[in-house]
Amino acid sequence: MRKSWHRLAAGAAAVLSLSLILSACSGVKKEEGGSADSGNGKSITLRIMWWGSQARHDATLKALDLYSEKHPGITFEPEYQSFDGYQDKLSTQSAGKNTPDIFQMDAAWFNDWASSGRLEDLSSIPTDKIDKVLLETGTYQSKLYAMPLGNNAWGMVYNKTMMDSLGIQPPKTWDEFFAMARDLKPRLAKDQYLTRDLTADGASYMSYQLSMGKGFSMSKDGKFHYDEATWKDWMNQWAELRKEQLVTPPDVTVSDKGQDAQMDLLIQEKILLRGAHAAEFGGTDALKPGVMALTTQPRATQASGWLKASMYWSVSPNSQYKEEAKEFIDWFVNSEEAGEILGTSRGIPVNKSVADALQPKFTDVDKSSLGLINEVSKDGAAFDPGPGNKGGWANFTKEYDNITQSIMFGKISIDEGWNQIVKLSQSLE
């Protein structure tokens, strides 16, 4: 009797203490589980890089925010800057296998990048509503490597307010252009000019040669197409203007930094016009609202502007998140909500239904861009992406800038400059 009671008591005590110990253990376990569970719902950061003006930066950042909001877990690490040095930066990053997941691509370098396997195939993104001609420019060996983002045209931006007050129209031809540079100067302030010195401006020379019916000075066939007579004529025109101080002096010319609030000569009203792309107009207008307007490049025997895709999105083949990047690009070009935020910050949207939906909401700025594109499309050339950097062209472009600048600063004569250029061209393959 007594013994069994003792055993019962001991058993009860053991059960009680065991349950306490167990509960203590389970408590600890729960705690560990709790601390480990600090939320890991798929979180992705996409690096994205582009060039542009402040207006484009703002619109793009806004679009990224909307995307993050709609796709929880996806955030962006944006890098953006002006066009200057963008290619260098991208190339350096590429060499270090450190390119952003998504980056803006230019038609001029597209072939180099696509052919060297530094771009991801984007063919899986739906493109049925996108202009086939533009798509073609982003396609290499029948695979889409760069998604075009907008229609663009090369033309001219001018200070309409000032020109109107001076009672003049922007020049229609190169003859008018050079004449106006001379005639207008006396009516302008001491440091105000119609144009800056375009001696060292390769794109403007390209327009000039094109208008003279001599074709693109550089083309994607990789051959040297500079026309000696046209080139010397161009250089002489500018040398004269420079000599007569009818264009900006060289140090002012080199200080020009497009689309910079402090350093853009057009914005500073040091000059009245300069070459520009339709897609840049939003950024320019934002710096001096309602003052600027677009027009075509001056012409000669032919028109000198050209149509092109404004720019492209490409995806790095080294990206960890290729599918997410492609999804983002799909949304960027094909969704109306993205189109609404972005407007024409990268030109007229390539997706026809997005562009149509946007049409009624177009601002005056958008309409100006569209107007230039329409105007250029009448008789403008199709853009030639050029030879890229291959075959010594990278060095040629760099040295060409040096040579033309030397001419501008009066270090060498025009003839000497041409000789150097020809000599340089011989090193091209």
Partner: protein, 595 residues
């Protein structure tokens, strides 16, 4: 007041057991909370120290890379050439373009930590405050807040500030170094900016929710993640710093303080002169696990208490049920009424208790019954005695009158008989006493025999053999006469003569008297034969009286003699001295002599 003696057992048992369990669980809760909180803080700080050391190493790597780059750039000839170049605008522009294009830009583009360069120099060609590579006039450097620090030493890290960039204003921390040519002339200042965001990324790489501070060797805050404590609190933290890594639990309550005051601070630095990483974790966060543990234990404990309450209730019920039953039975106990039956299923201590109680009650009941019988017998005897007393008085007076009448009539013999009878009555009455001396009792017998002698003459002989010292002892009155009368009336019936011998003898406890005759002896059926209405009454009376007064072994026995013809009566009663209590008239006998 001892509760064990005051309150109901089941209550005491129940509450003390429940209290004990509650106290035990509370103690376990407190101990486990304390222990686990300390453990938690320890392991957290260990982990944090390891993380901080790792981060510190990463940061140091980045920082020293920046420092090395800065040194390499500052002594690099294109830079020095450009900074010291005079004269032609185009030459200087070309030099700068080349410097940017071929040297500085690739450096920036290839580095993730370096964000931008700022170069202070004499006569920069043009100033672009939003470029990656900025050339700035040396004259404006002296207006900067960091200038005094640089002026004193050749290079220095400075904390968070804002610089212009292609991406707008950006928060950076900067390494500043003087550009000094080989001849020892200071030609400018090189600043390498590291984006704060980049460092923050490193510091928050592990998704830690704690806030971290980066302090330079002078205790100035270079940067922080999440929250920035005011300088007073940084000083408070620094006061506790001891060694290169460590931890402290401190309350930060300087002015402009953080909402959370109680913090675990963990610090790490590579050497006493290096930067220090400090991690602040709200104490609340650290102990939250322990608090949860304590709560869990409280809930489990409450459940255990509840469970043990039921268990205790069950125990105390079962332990006290037999006791309460017993108490109830004892309260309801009435010897005249048979109560409820006692439980019989207990085999333990309770069983013994119940059986003990059962024996007790049984004995009490037997005692009651015997007392009652005794009382009844006594009452009857007393009533009979009273009845017996009425007749003698009347007879006594009548006898006296008869005696006178006999004397007047000259009947000498009748007068003598009457006188003897009178004497007998006197002894028989003897003032209502129930005990008289043996002397008087013997006289009574003598008177009776003398009266009988008138009828028998010399043929009736008797002899009384009693020692003188016994004669003053007491005997219930009229004890001997019925036996003598029995011998004369029945023993000598139909005979001419008879002898009666009366012997008294003292024994240890009492006196024994034998009354022997030589008569016919007892009839075969004397015990069972129906009594004569008057005969035999005397003997029965004596028997009962002795029985009532004294009980066994005292009593009366009647038998035939074995040595000779005739019968023998033996009377045995205790020694009683002179009556002690005159009033009550009761018999007082030493109770030792009772059964």
């Amino acid at each position: 007041m001892n509760p064990f003696r005051t309150f109901r057992i089941d209550y005491v048992f129940f509450f003390s057991f429940a209290g004990f369990v509650a106290v035990l669980i509370t103690i376990m809760m407190i101990v486990s909370y304390r222990f686990s909180a300390a453990e938690q803080a320890d392991s957290t700080s260990m982990y944090q120290q390891a993380v901080l050391q790792q981060l510190n190493k990463q940061l140091t790597d980045h920082m020293s890379a920046v420092e090395q780059t800065s040194l390499a750039v500052s002594i690099n000839s294109p830079l020095v050439n450009y900074v010291t170049m005079n004269g032609d605008y185009y030459a200087r522009k070309t030099a700068r373009d080349e410097l940017n294009r071929d040297y500085l830009a690739p450096m920036l583009n290839s580095s993730r930590s370096m964000f931008s360069f700022q170069i202070y120099m004499n006569d920069p060609l043009q100033v672009d405050p939003n470029a990656n590579i900025q050339y700035l006039p040396l004259a404006s450097a002296s207006r900067e807040s960091w200038y005094p620090a640089v002026d004193k030493s050749d290079f220095v890290w400075i904390g968070q500030r804002e610089v212009g960039s292609p991406q707008g204003k950006q928060q950076v921390i900067s390494f500043i170094r003087k550009i000094t040519t080989l001849d020892g002339v200071n030609r400018g200042i090189l600043i390498i900016n590291v984006r704060v965001k980049f460092l923050q990324q490193i510091l928050t790489e592990d998704n830690s929710s704690a806030s971290r501070l980066l302090l330079d060797s002078g205790g100035r805050m270079i940067m922080h993640t999440r929250i920035a404590p005011p300088p007073g609190e940084i000083n408070a933290i620094l006061e506790r710093v001891d060694g290169d890594t460590g931890q402290a639990h401190q309350v930060l309550a300087a002015a402009g303080s953080l909402p959370e005051k109680s913090m675990l601070t963990v610090w790490s630095r590579t050497s006493p002169g290096s930067w220090m990483l400090v991690e602040l974790t709200p104490w609340k966060d650290i102990t939250s696990g322990s608090v949860r543990l304590a709560w869990t234990m409280a809930v489990v404990g409450a459940a255990a208490i509840l469970l043990s309450l039921f268990f205790t209730m069950f125990l105390s019920r079962n332990f006290t049920r037999p006791i309460r039953k017993l108490v109830q039975l004892m309260q309801a106990f009435n010897p005249e009424k048979r109560g409820q039956p006692l439980p019989t299923e207990y085999r333990n201590e309770f069983g013994s208790l119940f059986s003990g109680y059962r024996k007790l009650t049984e004995r009490i009941e037997t005692l009651y019954q015997s007392l009652e019988q005794q009382y009844k017998a006594q009452r009857e005897a007393e009533i009979k005695a009273l009845q017996a007393m009425i007749n003698p008085h009347f007879l006594y007076n009548t006898l006296d009158q008869l005696n006178w009448m006999a004397l007047e009539a000259g009947q000498e013999k009748i007068s003598q008989v009457l006188e003897l009878m009178g004497q007998m009555f006197r002894i028989g009455l003897s003032g209502g006493e129930s005990m008289i001396t043996l002397q008087e009792e013997l006289l009574h017998v003598d008177c009776f025999l003398k009266i009988q002698q008138f009828k028998w003459g010399e043929e009736l002989e008797w002899h009384i053999d009693c020692p003188e010292e016994l004669r003053h002892l007491m005997i219930p009155k009229l004890t001997l006469q019925p036996f003598v009368e029995n011998a004369v009336m029945h023993g000598f019936h139909g005979r001419r003569q008879g002898r009666i011998h009366l012997i008294c003898m003292e024994e240890d406890r009492g006196i024994r008297i034998w009354i022997r005759d030589d008569g016919i002896g007892l009839r075969e059926d004397w015990k069972t034969r129906k009594r004569h209405p008057t005969g035999g009454y005397g003997i029965r009376n004596v028997k009962e009286r002795i029985q009532v007064y004294f009980g066994p072994p005292f009593g009366v026995s009647l038998r035939n003699r074995t040595d000779a013809p005739g019968s023998e009566a033996e009377i045995y009663w205790p020694k009683v001295n002179q009556p002690r209590d005159q009033k009550g008239g009761g018999i007082h006998v030493d109770h030792r002599y009772r059964g």
